[in-house]
């Protein structure tokens, strides 16, 4: 039987990403376990059971252990972990929120992560979305679910300087978004000398 190798959807783009300048650096993040949490009103015991205060302010994220808890809606969060397997994370979060009337579903295979670093990253992102990305507004701890180009993404602000952003994109849209980002970064990419 043929062995099925786990390949990353953006493997074919790694060479193109390496040619980018330091002002727009795109790196592909390793797979992380992610769980979609639905919970109506957040009771006080949720934070002790989960080990994290789920953010209730719209468009924010907080560190949660080794991962993050991202606000996706008034009763929906994305909880990730870099150390647990998807099954472990799902079981742990489900055990915490089920008695409170919530639910948890493993969505690790849904999105992959990209890291955009550099002084020009804001200019690149601004070509595809109308969100105010100035660090005064979109500093560390802010997030946004929006459309970047034609792809739905979750944007995460990872620094207060506005030069470090996380992008979570659906795996099937990753190729499109990679092409779009490379095109948007073209003006900051030095042309090779012949």
């Amino acid at each position: 039987m043929a062995e099925l190798l786990r390949t990353h959807p953006l493997e074919g783009w790694s060479a193109a990403f390496e040619r980018l300048p330091d002002t727009v650096r795109i790196t592909v993040e390793p797979y992380v376990a992610m769980v979609d949490v639905r919970l109506g009103p957040v009771p006080a015991e949720a934070s002790t059971a989960l080990g994290v205060d789920l953010p209730t302010a719209p468009n924010t994220w907080v560190p949660a252990g080794t991962g993050r808890a991202v606000w996706l809606g008034p009763d929906e969060w994305l909880v990730s972990s870099t150390t647990e397997t998807p099954e472990e994370l799902e079981a742990r979060v489900r055990a915490a929120v089920l008695p409170l009337g919530g639910s948890a579903a493993d969505v690790s295979a849904q999105r992959i992560g990209l890291r955009l670093t550099g002084a020009r990253v804001r200019d690149v992102l601004a070509k595809g979305c109308s969100i105010d990305l100035h660090p005064r507004v979109f500093g560390r701890g802010r997030s946004a679910q929006t459309a970047l180009g034609q792809a739905g993404v979750v944007l995460l602000a990872l620094s207060d300087a506005g030069d470090n952003h996380g992008v979570l994109v659906r795996s099937s849209f990753a190729g499109y978004l990679a092409e779009w980002l490379l095109d948007a970064a073209l003006e900051f990419t030095p042309t090779p000398t012949r």
Binding site: N59, E76, S130
Partner: protein, 92 residues
């Protein structure tokens, strides 16, 4: 592109939203007593004013929540945006 202020997420591009028709259409109090004609009016008949119109919108590319908006159908300007459980605002 026009920005629509989602009551949860804030101003976002218009393409992130989808339209849900007229707002504040009450479900019949006694559905069993309705005639076919009354059902048809409840299901299919909607107002089509020129001017301010209360509508349902969904932020489908963001928080995926429904909300209501009062939009001027002549100018496409969004006069008010409010959550589903808020009463219909009165605009002078």
């Amino acid at each position: 592109m026009q920005l629509i202020a989602c009551p949860w997420c804030g101003p976002r591009e218009e393409v992130e939203f989808s339209y849900g028709g007229q707002a504040h259409v009450p479900y019949p109090d006694d559905p069993g007593a309705l005639s076919d004609e009354e059902w048809a009016h409840y299901v299919f008949f909607r107002a089509n004013p020129k001017g301010r119109f209360a509508e349902r919108w969904n932020h489908s590319a963001g928080c995926r929540r429904w909300f209501n908006a009062i939009r001027d159908t002549a100018t496409y300007r969004f006069e008010r945006v409010y959550r589903l459980d808020d009463p219909k605002p009165v605009i002078p």
